[in-house]
Symmetry: C2
Subunit: 361 residues, 2 copies
């Protein structure tokens, strides 16, 4: 098992990475301080893993709240079912919620924990590659609003993250690849040696070699933890984690949440961000080429959807959280492993890059 | 003008107390850091004061979100209208919300600020005595759930509190008295000299003498700020602020939010808590007598509603947030000005006190 610590003062917490951790109650049960616990999961994950978690919750007064699967259910309306459940089952302020699922479950359960009785503990048990390397680390929680993604939420750190790699054995190919997009992102934004390592090992990783996978998840979490420790509430540096996300959110919104997986939209978005970085003269074309090739080797899209227009992109990007006082902030690359946030990008430059990526006018 | 500071490290903020402060934009406008602002108010307060606030927001891109008045509207459903408004008006992460109203508006606006785009700034502009001395100080925000009061929320501190005492001139008698219940509470729990002062000046205070009122609000805020500074997230000492509140919440829930005002329910609840303190042998009967007399002099109820039963009380108290791992925690008095939290009170002792206060079996 690998282990690392996210350093956030009194909100610090460990991430455990390895196979069979879900059944290893000695590892994570001590993080549940009270007598009560509630497993929040969805109707796809629960039939597979809920029983294992329940059995591990020895001596706890446990209940479960099963939500409908899918990004379209990441809403205030579905979230309110969690509150209903917790109150109906008399969960008090010492309860601990356990997020058993992917990013949607983690974000919703995390926000429920942030807001139930003004805040209770929660454990992240990510069941997808994407959530292991991204959403379960860093404390971003929330739900979507019809007018934008993640518009309602809070920063709320888990008490620990249990990343059981055995759960990835049964993950569908497409979801596995989508998770790999975020893994590759860490190489691009902050870890050139990791990018090199990914290039060398992408075939073994896509074959889900256990040793390689453990290393990839570990190094992704180390990179994310370092960035988050520097800037917990996204005042500055943390924004580099959003490489490709402003373009990506526009794609997800236009196509409908879930039709393009988050990781797929981010993959195409990262290519656009790299193209823009090249256009601005910062990034060598060779890095763009290597990034695109690695994403393709992971089975990810490297072009935006054919049915989107430049205007649609620009409009949807303007509604993004990353707009500060009316200026569009984009994450760009200076070189491989070095990202920065720019507010200087003009609409015309973005439009030019979109057109050259085949987006219609 | 009086001013004090709530000391919470990087979340510290000032409270300004005086007449005409709402129009004094030089005082509070510097606390709005971005270009955008949104005034959140209700349909009773807005016609009276919204225009003054708007005029003070010189140079800001301001909008307003007016909610229906009343505790029954302190719900997730009504809260979601604030999110709808903020998104429709393109408020970004640098916006500042301004809570212009009583406790309901303050709690809802505060929680909207805590959760909009994972947290934005907000200013408290309390318009009632109760909210000036209680809810606008301390960072508790949230909404009610059909199964319990304030069950969904967050700790989120304002950037400043502007308590304009001129607004109290037109406050209805009953609401003014309800606010005085919390003022008296500070004397009971942590400030015996203040209690003495209140006894001496209660008639002048009820006549709304400006000097006396300013002093009462100031000393209430000082007491609250001291307790909050010691225990921001209610891990321990902060709970003493809830003297009478567990009984009071049971009354509010049983009678329907708003039929008994919060301060009225707290007044009757404080008498019950003092009776229980006497029953347990801690508190001299003389303090109970003085507390009851002062509350009566402020025009407040000192007996629970006639239509509640002992069982109803006990059941509703069990659903309160102040229950830790199944044990009912109650705030009791050791002496005048000295409160403590007890988990040792038996159901039978509570029932006995309720019966002796005239509650039916």
């Amino acid at each position: 098992m690998k282990q690392l610590q996210v350093s956030l003062g009194e909100r610090s917490y460990p991430i455990f990475i390895g196979r069979g951790l879900m059944q290893n109650q000695a590892l994570w049960l001590p993080f549940i301080k009270g007598r009560q616990a509630c497993v929040v999961s969805n109707d796809v994950v629960a039939p597979l893993y809920l029983e294992s978690v329940r059995q591990a919750l020895t001596g706890k007064q446990a209940s479960e709240c099963i939500l409908p699967d899918g990004e379209s259910n990441k809403s205030l309306q579905v979230l309110s079912r969690v509150y209903d459940h917790l109150l109906a089952e008399n969960h008090n302020r010492t309860t601990t919620l356990i997020a058993l699922g992917g990013g949607v479950v983690g974000d919703m359960c995390g926000f429920a924990a942030a807001s139930y009785q003004r805040g209770v503990d929660f454990v992240q048990m990510p069941t997808t590659l994407l959530s292991m390397v991204d959403s379960s680390v860093g404390g971003k929680t929330g739900v979507n609003h019809p007018l934008g993604k993640n518009m309602i939420g809070a920063f709320h750190q888990p008490v620990c993250v249990v990343a059981d790699l055995a759960l990835l054995d049964s993950l569908p190919e497409r979801e596995y690849a989508a998770g790999m997009a975020e893994v590759i992102k860490y190489g691009l934004i902050s870890d050139a040696p990791f990018f090199d390592w990914l290039e060398e090992n992408i075939n073994g990783l896509m074959a889900r070699d256990p040793e390689l996978l453990a290393e990839a998840v570990y190094r992704s979490c180390v990179n994310k933890a370092n960035v988050v420790a520097e800037d917990e509430r996204e005042g500055g540096r943390r924004a580099i984690l959003n490489l490709g996300h402003t373009f990506g959110h526009a794609i997800e919104t236009a196509e409908g949440y879930g039709n393009w997986l988050h990781g797929e939209a981010v993959a195409a978005g990262m290519v656009l961000a790299m193209m823009l970085s090249c256009e601005l003269g910062d990034l060598p074309q060779s890095v763009l080429g290597r990034g695109r090739s690695l994403l393709e080797a992971a089975g990810l899209p490297v072009l935006p959807p054919a049915n989107m227009s430049v205007d649609q992109f620009l409009q949807l990007m303007g509604r993004d959280k990353k707009v500060l006082d009316g200026r569009l902030r984009l994450v760009l690359l200076k070189s491989l492993g070095e990202a920065y946030v720019s507010s200087d990008t003009g609409v015309e430059q973005i439009a030019k890059v979109l057109r050259s990526a085949g987006v219609s006018v």
